[in-house]
């Protein structure tokens, strides 16, 4: 649906790599161009009209994002360069000061690098230990499995709401309830969930949420860190410098601005922020519930067709999101991706930045189709037709 809004879809491609990044609607592109062409001044320097307009647009985008994820206050929204940046800020700026030797960090082996590597480093620095929540037969997280690894030393559970390989939707609200009864913080990597389903941080009660603009129709280089107000107050800025201080006289005489500004040092990605705001408006217009429903139907359509092909091995049959991960029996995923590319079909091959998944799935590499609402059944038909004939794949993949 809404394909006409996307300039990239006027070309001759079938784009099925939305887990990596999404396409951009014309309105987002126009909104950013408008900034560069008509009021290209800096933010927070409102001494003249166009700079004042920048402030209004910038803060309006913050409010749009706040409302989009159901946050209570604008101060709970900090703009970053993306999910990775947000995760590093949470881990280093908050947990780096909180964790002590022997404390426990709970992750799963299905997490993206951005939700593992920052924890590795903070664990080394603080002496905290990383433990992995065991997964069930479908590689899902269950509360029972979570219970089996929580101890009095567990300080934080950090999980993707939707993992980027298996694509399962984690029960974040239940996890938060369980964790908060035990004074455990919950960090959510929302990179794959915020673009695809209705999020309400006030309802789920998550403590921290990280997500990227570019996977939700926004520009690259912009992301969001959500934290509950009282937790955001305690995040130590990783970057110091322009825009975030009130005054500085000597190393011990520094006065920082209030949140969220003190966590956004330097000239921000103004065009990115404004573009993201426009993407949020656009998503609201379509409706996240509609997007979720549409993608689920499309996923089912794809699965129904793929299971009929004997040489296709689906790795995440039971998941609910628009992520479908599979291999063609005996073939290397990258070769199949090259083959599909010859027909203008864009899919991802590899380990998808989640390199611990091999311990669980027993598969190092796979092909991933990740859907968005602008994909169609006819695009899926084209993909399936090309995958049906294994001899053709082998013949044409080199």
């Amino acid at each position: 649906m809404h394909r006409e809004d996307f300039p990239m879809l006027k070309g001759d491609i079938i784009y099925l790599d939305n887990g990596a990044t999404s396409l951009k609607p014309q309105c987002v592109i126009d909104k950013m161009t408008d900034y560069y062409e008509n009021y290209s001044a800096n933010a927070h320097r409102g001494d003249y009209d166009i700079s004042y307009k920048v402030d209004l647009e910038y803060e309006n985008a913050r409010d749009l994002v706040r409302e989009f994820i159901g946050a209570r206050r604008k101060e709970e929204i900090v703009f970053t360069s993306g999910s990775t940046d947000s995760m590093n800020l949470i881990v280093n700026g908050f947990f780096g000061n909180l964790l002590e030797a022997g404390d426990e960090i709970l992750l799963t082996k299905m997490e993206h690098a951005s939700n593992i590597m920052p924890w590795f480093r903070v664990a080394l620095k603080t002496g905290a230990n990383i433990k992995y929540i065991p997964l069930d037969d479908n590689n899902f997280v269950t509360i029972d499995n979570l219970k089996s690894v929580v101890t009095p030393r567990t300080k934080v559970i950090s999980l993707a709401e939707i993992t980027n390989v298996v694509g399962d939707i984690r029960p974040i609200k239940d996890i938060c309830k369980f964790a908060h009864e035990r004074d455990i913080f919950v960090v959510v990597d929302g990179a794959q969930s915020v673009p695809h389903k209705k999020i309400n941080v006030s309802d789920s009660d998550v403590d921290f949420l990280a997500f990227s603009g570019h996977k939700m129709l926004g520009p690259t280089g912009i992301g969001v860190l959500y934290a509950k107000y009282e937790l955001m107050e305690n995040i130590e800025p990783v970057n110091l410098g322009g825009g975030m201080n009130e005054s500085f006289d000597s190393p011990d005489k520094i006065v920082l601005k209030e949140i969220p500004t003190r966590l956004e040092a330097g000239t921000p990605n103004i065009a990115g922020v404004i573009g993201l705001g426009e993407a949020v408006k656009y998503l609201n217009k379509i409706g996240m519930e509609n997007i979720e429903k549409y993608e689920k139907n499309l996923r089912n359509y794809l699965i129904e067709k793929l299971v009929k092909i004997p040489h296709i091995d689906i790795l995440n049959l039971e998941s609910d999101s628009g992520i479908v991960t599979f291999n063609v029996d005996g073939l290397f995923s990258e070769d199949v991706a090259y083959y599909l590319n010859k027909y203008g079909i864009c899919v991802r091959a590899g380990s998808h930045c989640a390199k611990l998944t091999k311990d669980v799935l027993g598969v190092v590499n796979s092909l991933r189709v990740s859907l968005y609402f602008y994909n169609t059944e006819s695009e899926i038909d084209s993909l399936v037709d090309l995958l049906k004939d294994k001899d053709k794949i082998i013949k044409e993949m080199i």
Partner: protein, 145 residues
């Protein structure tokens, strides 16, 4: 080389690669070679006899191009002196980079004659060569050859 023949050679070497095994004698010198931007990851195992490459085996996960290229490289380097091997390797590199090379010595390696046209796959064809060069240099340094 004819395109259809090239494809057949690559397919044959991908589906039935020479010396792809995980049974390796410890006398073999091991070297890992991988492309950081893709998922190809190969271990090469080389057995030297003075300045002669007596045997090479390999193992790992790699695409059809990398696997076939490794198999073809093995066929052409086993039994050669280090000097002869370097000559083969240099010519193969030159071919992949669309520079002047000696067609007469590359044998099945010529199947990759057109690889320069697919810039995103050159690194696949060159993957085993990257590894073998490192192994040869390491061996020469250690043994002062």
């Amino acid at each position: 080389m004819d395109k259809e023949i090239s494809r057949e050679i690559i397919l044959e070497n991908f589906q039935n690669p020479l010396n792809k095994t995980n049974v390796i004698d410890e006398k073999y010198q091991k070297i890992n070679t991988r492309n950081p931007n893709c998922i190809d990851n190969i271990d090469l195992y080389i057995l030297f006899d003075n300045d002669i490459i007596k045997d090479i085996k390999f193992n790992g996960e790699a695409c059809a191009i990398s696997t076939a290229s490794t198999s073809i490289m093995l066929k052409n380097l086993i039994g050669k002196t280090i000097k002869e091997a370097k000559n083969y390797i240099n010519n193969f590199y030159h071919m992949c980079n669309k520079e002047e090379y000696d067609e007469n010595i590359l044998n099945e390696g010529l199947a990759f004659q057109d690889i320069y046209k697919q810039s995103n796959r050159i690194h696949c064809a060159l993957l085993p060569y990257k590894g073998i060069i490192e192994a040869l240099e390491e061996y020469e340094k250690k043994n002062k050859i």
